[in-house]
Each structure stands twice: as structure tokens, then as C-alpha cells.
């Protein structure tokens, strides 16, 4: 949370700086090059003055107005406008862009956060933009430029086919001697979890490609863990989302195709039936393999005769994004509660420590007081000894005044000095005052 606040503060400062002085001057202030400052402005989504801005200011010419500081996580979506009556034919689809703005959760109270759900994280205008954008998503009939992950999947599947043909018993850990290796043998590399028959592969690729590209627009990041099982983790608003797309199987006995039943195949055999299913698992932040912190939310979408998976893309994205937003809100609530709990615990600890110090002081004070009381008789004795010696010294002073011999006077003077010094040693007053002062101060504390 502190990090988020720091970034927020730093963005405002940098934004003010770059619009207050030329880039070279700002660069000197931060000890960077002007390109360095520009790069940082870009990564923090801070608008910078256009080239020639300061020259125009210097020349007194009119300049462009300073744009407001956009949100840090600004998501810009472009889609085809669907405004207007549906019956009204539009001559050309109008490209529209809109940005998604997330509410600043730092400014909201826990009660307000607890009343928020799903897309409440977005401001109302953004919700409309988001819905319009989702509804504009279409799975294309042909994709020329597949996402990298899909291209990797294609290559890996091709490799696996060739390898399995060359080493058909690899999975059984049986190595048959081969004089010449046509294909290098290696374990599977994890790729996207797409398990469909060849007839549905292209369709599955197009659907997954549309989904990946849409999530990329929503600033999601993708990762595939090294594993012997294919997997994908999409991190969106710090929520970990994974999916698995596969083709359903039906037992031959339930197939409507009578030819398939007449085929010389067992009726209990399960065969691909052409229905694609995608299952999503959405886990809260902080999930790691094997932890049961929170059960995953499962969403499942399947082809049906009246609603193909391609037509469910917008619903899928809306539902998944909604879950992610919800997780973000819940995370924020958890963090807030944790912070409050932490503060409470720190206060309790402090109070406990103070009480302990007080108790210790009291014990010490009581011990001092008791020691002082115990020493009263001794102190009295010392006091009287001191008085006695002082009186003795005074009387020696008087006697000295009566003496005429210079040498005697001097020797007496030395002795009187010794008596007075020893008398001071017996004086308990300074010790008593010091102890009383300490006890007093401890009592006040």
C-alpha cells in the first residue's frame, strides 16, 4: 500500500516538474538524461510536453494546454461503435476508443469497500465502455497473426507428434535402440492447455487467440510454468486466472450417428464429439501451488447447439474480469483489515511494554524507599558523627585563633582541613536528597 502511495506521489511530482521546466532541466534535477526522464514518464503514464513546447513558451506563442494527469493503470480500449438503432444500417463501422478507470480504493473506507462487488471497481463510464468493448469482440474466421503462445503450442504439438512416432514407447520408459536418431528426444515443454481433436484445433486456436488478445488489452500478463502438464496463468489485477480448453467426449452408445454405432468399435469407447468446453479457475492473490488459502472460483462454458463458444466470448471476459475486480476489492478489504489489526496489535504491544516499565519503576521505587527507610538509623548516626566532627573542627578553629606560633597555626589548619573533609564523608544528606529525588521522579512517571 505504501508502494502504491509512493508511486502516486512521485507521479504527481514528476508530472508537475516536466510541465514546469524543460526536460533537460528536469533531467539535471533527477540526475538522469532527458531520455531517461522521458522513458520514466512513459512507463508511469505521465503526459509530457510536445517537442517545441518550451521554445514556443519562450517566444510568447500560444501553446497546447497541459492535459490532466491520467490514472496510472489506464487501459485504453478500442472497439467498433454500436450506437444507434440496430435496424438502421450504418455505412461504415466507427472505431471508438475509451479508457477504463479504476476507482482509487485507497480513498474508500472499509464499509464502502464491503458494499462493492465486481465491476463496481470501475467508474460508471468505464463500465459502459467495458461492456461495449466486450460485446464488440468477435472470434475471427481466420487469424493471420496468432499470439506467440499459440504459435509455440503449434510447434510443440508438431514436435510431440513426430517424437511420439519416432519413440512410441517413451511414456512407458522403454527405449528401443536406434542406430540413427531422426528426432532429438526431449520431454514435453509446457504450452497452452488445449486438448482437442485435430478437427477442432483451428477453432480452439481462434477462440484462445481472441481471449489472449483481449486479456492483453486489459493489461494482463501471461506465464506458463515449467511442468510436465500444459498450463497457463493469466495475472489480471493481481488475480491468478487459469483456463483449460478441451473437446468433450461422448460414449459411442450415445452418439446420434447410427453409422458410428455400427462401426466395429466398442460402444463404451469415448470419442470426441466436437463440443468445446473452456473451464476457468480464478484464484485470489497469494495463491501458490499446494496452498489452500482460498478455494478457486470455477467458471465453465461449453458449446451448445444454440450458443457456440465463439458467441460466449464477451460473457467469458465480463465474468472473468468481474471476478478479478471482485478479488481486487476483497484483497483491498483484507489488506485494510490486516493493517488495522496490525496497528491494533502494535498499540497493544506498546501499552503492554509501558505497563511493564511502569511496574518495574514502581518495584524499583519501592525498593529504594525501603532501602532509605532501612538506612535511616545509620544515616542518623552518620549525621550526628558529621555534626560532632564539624563542632570539633569549629572548636579547633577557635583554639587556633588563640595560638600565636605560626607553625602551630599552620599545622592546626592542616588538621582542621582533614577533620572537615572526614566530617563531609559522614554527611548523609546528599545521598538522602539524591534518593528522595529519584523516588519522587519515579513516582511522577
Amino acid at each position: 500500500m505504501n508502494e502504491a502511495q509512493d508511486i502516486k506521489k512521485m507521479r504527481v511530482t514528476l508530472y508537475e516538474d516536466v510541465w514546469a521546466a524543460p526536460m533537460t532541466a528536469v533531467a539535471v534535477k533527477y540526475g538522469l538524461s532527458d531520455t531517461g526522464v522521458r522513458k520514466r514518464c512513459k512507463s508511469y503514464n505521465i503526459p509530457i510536453p510536445p517537442f517545441g513546447y518550451w521554445a514556443k513558451v519562450k517566444a510568447g506563442k500560444p501553446v497546447a494546454e497541459r492535459p490532466p494527469l491520467p490514472p496510472y493503470d489506464e487501459i485504453i480500449l478500442s472497439f467498433e461503435s454500436q450506437l444507434g438503432d440496430k435496424d438502421e444500417p450504418t455505412l461504415s463501422p466507427k472505431n471508438k476508443t475509451g479508457s477504463l478507470e479504476l476507482l482509487d480504493l485507497e480513498e474508500l473506507s472499509i464499509d464502502q469497500l464491503e458494499n462493492m462487488h465486481g465491476l463496481d471497481l470501475l467508474d460508471p463510464d468505464s463500465i459502459e465502455t467495458f461492456n461495449n468493448w466486450c460485446n464488440s469482440l468477435v472470434v475471427p474466421g481466420r487469424v493471420n497473426d496468432y499470439d506467440d503462445l499459440i504459435s509455440k503450442h503449434k510447434l510443440e504439438i508438431e514436435y510431440r507428434e513426430v517424437r511420439d512416432k519416432e519413440y512410441p514407447f517413451r511414456n512407458d520408459h522403454i527405449d528401443i535402440w536406434k542406430p540413427l536418431e531422426k528426432v532429438k528426444k526431449r520431454d514435453n515443454e509446457a504450452v497452452l492447455p488445449i486438448e482437442v481433436s485435430n478437427s477442432q484445433l483451428s477453432r480452439a486456436y481462434r477462440i484462445v487467440d481472441t481471449l489472449l488478445k483481449a486479456f492483453k488489452k486489459l493489461k494482463a500478463s501471461f506465464s506458463i510454468d515449467r511442468s510436465d502438464r500444459d498450463n497457463i496463468t493469466i495475472t489480471l489485477l493481481r488475480t491468478m486466472v487459469s483456463f483449460n480448453i478441451y473437446e468433450c467426449k461422448t460414449k459411442r452408445r450415445y452418439l446420434a450417428d447410427s453409422l458410428a454405432i455400427q462401426n466395429f468399435r466398442p460402444l463404451y469407447e469415448e470419442v470426441f464429439d466436437g463440443r468445446l468446453q473452456i473451464v476457468w479457475q480464478i484464484r485470489k492473490e497469494g495463491y501458490y501451488y499446494g496452498s489452500n488459502k482460498e478455494p478457486a472460483v470455477c467458471l465453465s462454458y461449453i458449446d451448445s447447439s444454440d450458443n457456440l463458444l465463439e458467441n460466449q466470448i464477451s460473457t467469458i471476459i465480463i465474468e472473468v474480469y468481474k471476478q478479478c475486480c471482485n478479488n481486487k476489492i476483497l484483497n483491498m478489504i483484507d489488506q485494510r483489515k490486516m493493517k488495522l489489526q496490525f496497528e491494533q496489535e502494535a498499540n497493544n504491544l506498546l501499552a503492554k511494554e509501558q505497563a511493564e516499565i511502569k511496574r518495574k519503576n514502581e518495584v524499583e521505587r519501592q525498593a529504594r524507599k525501603n532501602a532509605l527507610i532501612k538506612g535511616i538509623v545509620e544515616d542518623a548516626k552518620k549525621w550526628f558523627e558529621h555534626e560532632k566532627l564539624s563542632k570539633y573542627a569549629d572548636e579547633l578553629e577557635i583554639h587556633k585563633a588563640t595560638c600565636s606560633n605560626e607553625e602551630t597555626i599552620q599545622l592546626l589548619q592542616g588538621y582542621i582541613q582533614l577533620v572537615r573533609e572526614n566530617a563531609d564523608k559522614y554527611n548523609p544528606l546528599s545521598h538522602i536528597l539524591h534518593e528522595m529525588k529519584v523516588i519522587e521522579s519515579q513516582e511522577n512517571n
Binding site: 514407447f169 512407458d172 522403454i174 535402440w177
Partner: protein, 427 residues
């Protein structure tokens, strides 16, 4: 030359006849009796050894498709089969061979039978994939590929508690259980009637009078609703005062009194042997079953068995036998087993390919390029135990819904059982 032409032809026929051995019965023990008769009759009538032909065809496929390979370090040897024989519509190019030879009288309408001969040789001799055999035979029968062959391991499914079988397991019989011998409702169709007298207070097996009363009740029920296909009795409970002779006299009485309902069979169901709360049954282990079978044979009492597998396998007293040995023992009395009580068991594939030792006592593994699953579980052992044409009744046990029943049916189909409605009975 023309003068001797006929004589040469006769000479060639004679030589061919001398060189062609007759089919050996020991090689065909797994084949259906009708198929064996066809092979033998063909040889007798036409001097053609079909089995030998099939063997040669399989052998030529072996030469062509099976490779003898060795492992990376030369430690293991493998027979790698590159031919996809399972679920093949035209294995061994049998269509062409049949087309070329169908004019021969012994091959007329015998395409499937010829294919089965080749497949038999291929599976048992060449590629050692005998797991597929019974499933293959049943598939051929159900698809009408063969006409003279009967199902292997045929099961007549029984329903109870309204359970519904999949369409390919036609069921028209029900299983009814009673404790007092009275049939309370009229059965919908054919039925199997189980009399549960395992309770301690029921002493029908130890008291001839009580048994007579029970038989009288059964007679009343059967007169009213007709006799069942099988009358099952649960085994008696073992008590301190249990007397074997009384039990056998009751058995004898039961058998005699029920003879009039022939072909109804009377069977004894094995009981539980390890539950603390329940008393131990007289027949709870495989040893008990074998002992009882011997004693019944000695006394010439023709009682059959209904094997309750889940109960038999949990019997803790049975320490001397493992699962394989239990099946081995059951093989010896398989003709007396009429009903199978089976629960769902998780199928288990074998981790290692099948193997046979070679002349150097080293194992040679049999691999299939087309990755046929090899099972080593209850169902495969059950299928191997019976492996005959006798129809038995299937009583599903501990099955609560249709889905579980379908799983059971699928596992049984996979392991080489066939389902029939019991119309054409050959028990």
C-alpha cells in the same frame, strides 16, 4: 503328355493330401465348438486345413509387421507389433482373401469365421494380445460378423431397485430378495429369487422341519407367480451347534423338492466372514466354497453357486489365498457358478507390457505401436476365469444409480463380457 495329365493331377492331389496335416484339437481349445467343427468338417470333406491356412496368414503378417528389437543397452528384447489389429474392419485384408475364395463351398458366408481363425492365431501365437480375444469374439457376434459362433462370457443382467442398464445391455429380469420365502408382488418378467436366511433366528439349514415350512412357502409363491430362473439361498451362519450332516440333509431335501421346477436352478450364495457385528457365514472363503462343492459332489446333491465377489474378497479369514489364487480356484468350479454378484471396482492398467521368457530365460516383451491398454485388475481376471460360452446372471451389488451401473457395464464389456437378455439360453 496328355496321356499322363490326369495321372499327374491325381499325383499332385495325393502329395498335397499327404503333406496337409489335420487340424490339431489342442491348438483350438479357445475357439468356439461350432467353429472347430467347421474346421474339422472342412478338412474331413475337402482336405483343406483352414487352421493351417490361418496360421500361415498370421505368420506372414508377423513377418511383415512385427519387429524384433532390443533396448538401448541390449538388456531387454521386444517384439514390436506395428499392425493395428484391434477394432479393425478389415484385418489381415480378409475382405480380399474372402472375395478371392468365396466360391469355395466351405467358405460360403464364412468371412467372419475365417477372420476369427486368423485373429486367434495372431493374438495367441504371434503378438500375445489375448486380452482382446473375448471382447473381439463378442464384438463379432454383436455386429453379425459371424454366424456360428456364440458369445464368450455372456451375462444376463438383472435389475434391482429400479436400476436401468444402458441400451446395449438389454435387461428383462429382476432380482427379488425375501427372508420368508413369500413373493409379495408379481414379478414383471423373469426373475431370480433370493431367500435370505442368514439371520441367526432362522434355522432352516439346521432344522428340516423349518426347511420344509420354507419350501412350502416357496411352493405357494411359485404356484401363484411361476418359478424363477434361479432360486438363491444365502449360506447358513456358523454357530457352535452347527451340524454338517443336518445341513446336507436340508440341502438334499431342498434339491429334491425343487426338481419339479426344472430348469430352475438352486444356488447357494457365499456370506460374509469378517464383520464383527455379524456372525460368520458357513461359506465365506474360497476354501469353504471348494470344500462345499466337494461334499455336494460326494453326496450327489446338484446345488449351484452364486458368487458374491465383494463379500468373498473382504473375507479376512481367507489368508491363504490372494486374489489371483481365488480366481484360479473358481476356474475349477466355474460350471457350477450361475450368478455373479459384482460391485464397481476401479480398473487398473498394467504398468509393464506382457512378456514371455525366451530360450535364454530372458523375458521378451510384447509391445504394440497402437498403444492398446493392458489391464491387470478384477475384471480382466474375472473374464479369464470363466472364458466359456455359459450364460451367467449378473447381479449388480452396491450400485446406487444408473451412472455407476453404466460404469460397471462398460468395465465388463471392456474385459470381454457380453450382455444378452437370456432369450436363447445355453446355461
Amino acid at each position: 503328355m496328355n496321356k499322363y495329365q490326369d495321372n499327374v493331377a491325381i499325383l499332385i492331389t495325393e502329395i498335397k493330401k499327404c503333406n496337409t496335416d489335420g487340424p490339431s484339437p489342442s491348438e483350438m481349445i479357445r475357439l468356439d465348438n461350432n467353429l472347430v467343427s467347421w474346421v474339422r468338417e472342412t478338412y474331413r470333406q475337402y482336405g483343406v486345413n483352414l487352421y493351417s491356412f490361418a496360421s500361415e496368414l498370421a505368420s506372414s503378417y508377423y513377418e511383415r509387421y512385427v519387429k524384433y528389437e532390443r533396448g538401448d543397452f541390449g538388456q531387454s528384447y521386444y517384439h514390436v507389433n506395428n499392425y493395428n489389429h484391434r477394432y479393425n474392419n478389415n484385418p489381415f485384408d480378409i475382405d480380399r482373401i474372402y472375395e478371392d475364395n468365396k466360391h469355395r463351398p466351405f467358405l460360403e458366408n464364412k468371412r467372419g469365421e475365417l477372420e476369427m481363425l486368423v485373429m486367434h492365431e495372431w493374438l495367441f501365437v504371434e503378438v500375445y494380445d489375448d486380452d482382446y480375444w473375448s471382447e473381439y469374439v463378442n464384438l463379432c457376434v454383436s455386429h453379425g460378423r459371424v454366424n456360428i459362433v456364440k458369445n464368450v462370457n455372456a451375462l444376463i443382467p438383472l435389475t434391482c431397485l429400479g436400476l436401468k442398464y444402458p441400451d446395449d445391455a438389454p435387461c428383462s429380469m429382476e432380482h427379488i430378495t425375501t427372508t420368508d420365502g413369500i413373493l409379495k408382488m408379481a414379478p414383471q418378467d423373469d426373475y431370480i429369487f433370493r431367500v435370505d436366511i442368514s439371520r441367526l433366528d432362522v434355522r432352516a439349514w439346521q432344522d428340516p422341519e423349518e426347511m420344509a415350512t420354507l419350501i412350502a412357502m416357496l411352493n405357494t409363491s411359485f404356484r401363484k407367480y411361476g418359478a424363477p430362473k434361479v432360486l438363491e439361498f444365502t449360506a447358513p451362519t456358523k454357530i457352535a451347534s452347527f451340524d454338517d450332516e443336518t445341513f446336507f440333509s436340508c440341502c438334499s431335501m431342498l434339491e429334491k423338492k425343487m426338481k419339479k421346477y426344472s430348469p430352475m436352478k438352486v444356488a447357494i450364495v457365499n456370506g460374509s466372514g469378517n464383520q464383527k457385528s455379524k456372525p460368520v457365514s458357513y461359506i465365506c472363503t474360497i476354501e469353504d466354497i471348494i470344500k462345499l462343492k466337494t461334499q455336494l459332489r460326494e453326496r450327489k446333491i446338484r446345488l449351484q453357486f452364486s458368487i458374491d465377489f465383494p463379500t468373498l474378497f473382504v473375507s479376512k479369514r481367507d489368508t491363504n489365498y490372494n486374489q489371483k489364487e481365488i480366481f484360479g480356484a473358481l476356474t475349477e468350479i466355474k460350471n457350477s457358478i450361475v450368478c455373479l454378484n459384482i460391485a464397481n471396482v476401479k480398473p487398473q492398467t498394467s504398468n509393464w507390457p506382457r512378456s514371455r521368457p525366451n530360450s535364454d530365460d530372458k523375458d521378451i516383451y510384447y509391445l504394440n505401436k497402437y498403444k492398446y491398454p493392458v489391464y491387470d485388475d478384477f475384471y480382466s481376471m474375472l473374464s479369464a476365469t470363466f472364458n466359456d460360452n455359459q450364460q451367467r446372471y449378473l447381479i449388480p451389488k452396491n450400485i446406487s444409480n444408473d451412472t455407476e451401473l453404466e460404469i460397471l457395464v462398460d468395465n465388463l464389456l471392456r474385459s470381454g463380457f457380453a450382455f444378452c437378455d437370456g432369450g436363447d439360453r445355453n446355461e
